[in-house]
């Protein structure tokens, strides 16, 4: 066994385990006990990662409607983004929106980058926003207060992911279709967290629907 780095296990890992594998208290206790006996933070993180990964299918099964809805919204966003750009086969499906995007071509770096991030974020936020509003309406929780709670979460997630993704553009283009899936995930994550923040539970859409 390696020497412990601190008495307390990594807080973020502990927090994630409590939320994403909440049914397994004895497992959380085992990890704390083993960490106290000298296991490393890396070991703790690996154990938490595997525990969350194992609990994931159960989460998906439990909140299947929400996951399908999220995947659909995310796919619609990606398809809309793809068809916004004109190519040899067809013109832009949204010429006015594309005209706004194209204004960024005439701006010098770094402002062109800032413009692009702002545009992509606004584009994705519009679809995520529509998805959150629909969810709140379904569950009769459509109130301005709930929307305002979700707004900063959605924007922060989208800005961070849209700034980070271009850094890995080379890697993502090599991944082909899987790269496209990765690029489509920020709106999905933004929707889940926004919905969570607005309603206090990631799976409340399901409860509202099943009542």
């Amino acid at each position: 066994m390696t020497k412990p780095e601190s008495v307390e296990p990594p807080k973020l890992a502990k927090w994630l385990l409590e939320r994403l594998s909440p049914q397994n208290e004895p497992l959380a206790g085992d990890l704390i006990e083993a960490f106290g006996r000298g296991r490393s933070s890396g070991w703790y993180w690996r154990q938490v990662f595997v525990a969350i990964l194992i609990a994931l299918p159960e989460h998906v099964r439990k909140h299947l409607t929400l996951f399908l809805y999220t995947a659909t919204c995310s796919a619609v966003t990606s398809i809309a983004w793809y068809f916004m750009f004109p190519n040899a086969a067809h013109g832009s499906a949204f010429p006015r929106i594309f005209a706004v995007y194209a204004r960024g071509y005439g701006i010098d770096w770094p402002w062109s980058f800032v413009y692009q991030i702002a545009f992509v974020t606004a584009f994705e936020a519009a679809t995520v926003w529509a998805a959150v509003i629909t969810c709140l309406a379904i569950s009769h929780q459509l109130r301005l207060r709930n929307l305002l709670q979700a707004f900063p979460v959605v924007v922060v997630v989208l800005v961070i992911s849209n700034v980070a993704l271009p850094l890995f553009s080379g890697l993502l283009s090599n991944l082909q279709w899987f790269g496209w899936v990765i690029v489509s995930t920020p709106p999905a994550i933004a929707f889940i967290l926004g919905n969570w923040k607005a309603k206090g539970s990631p799976g409340s859409l399901i409860k509202a629907k099943s009542v």
Binding site: N24, P26, Q47, V50, I54
Partner: protein
């Protein structure tokens, strides 16, 4: 004859470790014993997932112990092999022994 589903390698190892540990079989010692015997790091999440599957099949039973300070106030979950679990272990042992016999490459202790 009652048909039995076969145990996976991992399930068989977990069940044998439970038998070796006796009354003190909960997460931490199970993982330690598995690591010592197999020389591979055992993930507690995988062990619990396997034990829960086997509990549903009636091969093991579990009971909660007292919460302790050392574990951040969380209880231990002790596991025991049931009679059905014992039957399944023996059946798997017999199946493996049958498969072992008559294979020239495996006889004489040569690699």
């Amino acid at each position: 004859m009652e048909s039995m589903s076969h145990l996976s390698d991992f399930e068989l190892i977990v069940l044998l470790v439970l038998l070796r540990l006796g009354d003190g079989a909960y997460g931490v010692p199970i993982a330690q014993e598995m690591q010592e015997q197999t020389k591979r790091e055992a993930k507690l999440g995988s062990i619990y997932a396997s034990l829960e599957r086997m509990e549903k099949k009636g091969l093991v039973v579990s009971e909660l112990g007292e919460p302790t300070k050392e574990r951040g106030g969380r209880a231990k979950r002790y596991f025991h092999v049931t009679k059905q679990g014992m039957r399944q272990i023996r059946e798997t042992q017999r199946t493996l022994a049958r498969l072992w016999k008559g294979v020239p490459e495996l006889e004489g202790g040569r690699s």
